[in-house]
Symmetry: C2
Subunit: 300 residues, 2 copies
Amino acid sequence: MAFTLRQLRYFLATAENRTVSGAAQALAISQSAVTEAIRELEADLGVPLFERHPRGLEITPRGHQFLRHAQQILSSVSDARQAMKVEAEHLSGRLNIGVTSLVAGYVISDVLARFRRANPAVEVAALEDSGEYLEHLLIGGELDAAVMVTSNLRDRLALQAEILEVSPYQLWLPNGHPLAAQPSVAISDLAQEPMIMLRLDETEQPTRRLLDAFGARPRIAFRTRSVEAVRSLVATGAGIALLPALIYRRWSLEGDPIVSRDVSGSLPVVQVGVVWRKGAPLSPAVREFIRTAQSQRFRR
Amino acid sequence: MAFTLRQLRYFLATAENRTVSGAAQALAISQSAVTEAIRELEADLGVPLFERHPRGLEITPRGHQFLRHAQQILSSVSDARQAMKVEAEHLSGRLNIGVTSLVAGYVISDVLARFRRANPAVEVAALEDSGEYLEHLLIGGELDAAVMVTSNLRDRLALQAEILEVSPYQLWLPNGHPLAAQPSVAISDLAQEPMIMLRLDETEQPTRRLLDAFGARPRIAFRTRSVEAVRSLVATGAGIALLPALIYRRWSLEGDPIVSRDVSGSLPVVQVGVVWRKGAPLSPAVREFIRTAQSQRFRR
DNA sequence: ACCTAGCTATCGGTTTTTCCGATAGCGGCA
DNA sequence: TGCCGCTATCGGAAAAACCGATAGCTAGGT
């Protein structure tokens, strides 16, 4: 009747290892202790977190949902401990950050909240806009830095980037889709498939160009600005999607499965990073922001 | 070597009660158990969280800092549990939220992060700007809602507000300041005092008007947009400040004490709330956002 | 069809943590 | 000075956590 941090840590290790015994080994603890902890956690939440298979455990959709909460909690715990450890040299000043919408909802709202907690004397202003406009503001000196997709920067001469994450394009399919039979799919096979397009951060144009270049002319079934809507549409069989692995999840919000497949051939990748104006001296606050963003590994 | 949620809960209860035995009673647990848990927590963090006095405990500046982390962690824990409890009816759609800068850094970044976690299918866009401009956008229908100081709304006819927090003005003084001798201070006594002004959310104009109205003509020593800068300046004796109790804290970031005193006479209060256009039907997403904001009590 | 390897679940017993009640100590206050 | 309200500490009891051993399961190889 109240789970513990210990249970969360064991749960996390188990989810990462996809096996209890592996987690036990990583934790330097006996397997039975881990099994027990997970059983308690499930009983406490009233939700099965894993499906048991003879070769290991497979996380359930609800389990995966809880996993993200667990990660968030544990990272808050580690922040709290860190805050007590260091004899704070207090950063101050202003920090003007731009974010594109893809990145804004995804992971950066957590990073910003954490940064503000850790650096209360820094006045943070966050602005959400298109990558194009953010570049403009960066060059004009109105933003200190921006978090955005860097693989299609317009002005590479004036801007400098620190990559946070590199992510290849991959194909999303509904469960049981014929293309899922092969481990890897050729772009030309997509010719007749209805596509779901995500209208965020200019992921749409590169995708179209990609398809065009390979002569595939798929039908656009839907266009939406919501990642979750894409997931739901793919999961229910309304179409397939070609998107960065970064935002892939195994289930839609409703719990319907989504399958991902690599696309054969060398495709461009998406890079997400922190961008600032070349030559501009990085303020300590920006540097610290980059550190915070890096420490927050992107999560599925 | 790794604190537990139990310890955080006991710590929180103790900080609220300012006494171990009171906390023990509230927790329906023995006093020695609480004492023990706090001792362990302090040993684990390597930081004294309370000063022991014969009539109870007084939290230290570091303890107070840790308290905010503890609150954040426990509220994440409760969110996680909640997420597993409800058989999610998934809200979707867009939510365009405006915030003023005072409110942005203070508590709303946490609320937004929590809202996004709890409602992943809602595309949230947050915009930070002046109250005046936010009103304009609200009336134009470009924002669904805004979190801002509502006590000086310009257009009360077209806008409607749900108050989140009401907060009276109070006086901030350095430790040992002569005015701190009295429990309550008259505005006229401020005539000769150097003032620190906060240039956020139009807190400055009302303050000036207030002082003018009472014939007090204090000297403006500093103007800054950083709440923490005001705290540091007041704590080090650079001046005094007249600000909403909402943002009062007992110490500056450096750990120097700040004293607060009520101002005698009936002063205007500051109201912080969620504002939307009158007559506009509140979308479920907005309603849920208000609920999230309300549940997050403002923290000192 | 039958092993075997690799995994999880469960159980008894041990160690560690948590809790309680009792008691001692400490400083305000009548 | 003695009482009152609080915290710290201690011994012992109760509960939780852990371990090692064992049983059970199934995919994959033979």
